[in-house]
Symmetry: C2
Subunit: 188 residues, 2 copies
């Protein structure tokens, strides 16, 4: 990895840190955090929009790779979701800005790519509803969003120090799979 690649990576990492804290932070702040001159930032990412696009695409790639690496189309669906959760959650709060950036919200193609990245998860959930391991009275779209939402919540909550990130996968899985109530059969 040559110097340009390292500089580029520093900038992307710094941008994640800075922009997830304040999505309207200045590029000067990003450059400073990356330990790089503002001029250099503009050499790599001529405009703010291009920086954010690159940022989101980078994050999307990481999520898509993480999901694919767990082969969510194989084995029992609940096990598959467990693998996805264990792999994606540690990617960390650093990705939660995906949720907030207005630039993301208004770029059709980025939204499309976001749902493309989640498509394997959607398919696993559909498979689970078909084979009877997941309840089928909830729309697949809702289940996907609720599942992703739980992961985002875990990131936020861990970020605020209300839980430990290492506990997050269990909390997410228990909550989303079994819910917060005791089983009806537990009643006398």
């Amino acid at each position: 990895m040559g110097r340009p690649d390292r500089t580029r990576r520093s900038l992307l990492d710094a941008a994640v840190v800075v922009l997830s804290k304040d999505s309207s932070a200045s590029l000067a702040e990003v450059a400073a955090t990356a330990g790089v001159g503002r001029t250099t930032l503009h050499r790599y990412f001529p405009t703010r929009e291009l920086l954010i696009r690159a940022l989101v695409e980078d994050a999307l790639d990481r999520v898509a790779d993480a999901i694919a690496s767990t082969h969510p189309d194989e084995g029992p669906v609940i096990d598959a979701l467990q693998r996805v959760t264990d792999t994606v959650v540690p990617l960390g709060p650093s990705l939660s800005f995906l949720h907030a950036e207005p630039e993301v919200y208004n770029a059709r193609d980025l939204i499309r790519r976001w749902y493309e990245a989640l498509e394997p998860v959607a398919q696993a959930i559909e498979r689970g509803q078909d084979d009877g391991s997941l309840r089928n009275d909830l729309p697949v779209k809702w289940v996907v969003d609720a599942y992703v939402g739980a992961i985002l919540t875990a990131w936020d909550t861990a970020d605020e120090g209300r839980i430990w990130l290492q506990d997050a996968p269990r909390l997410v899985m228990t909550t989303i799979i079994s819910g917060i109530a005791t089983l009806p059969t537990d009643a006398p």
Copy 2:
């Protein structure tokens, strides 16, 4: 309600609409949406920060009132959560900006008030864990965040047209209470 009160309300409502779509929108846009001159906006809210504070406080009041009106400390906990859900969800996507505004995130007292508003919910959940209706292997803080997160997800998802807001209370309750898996007892 005199003219000043109506103007103030128009401004707050417009601010919710505009800022929840783009949290960096200009005050001119807010004023225009409220059908009010920019000068008038500044008369009511001298600075942008004060507008946002007023906005958040207004939203907090609405949520707190909605929660209180359901008396979450009475009756079976799951019924109480159902009442809270049915009452809070219709308050609508208009409140989801609570989640995004950086000004909110960086104001200690607003965060504190946010959790104060949720305190009755936290107490209900604690009560449920004590009386055995909710599983007690999850931290109360996590359960509160997961529950609120599910409502926020429902708002976002409804906003994007992936579900209908009128279905949201059932989806939220089913998902958070029972989870997305079929009951173990459903297996042959």
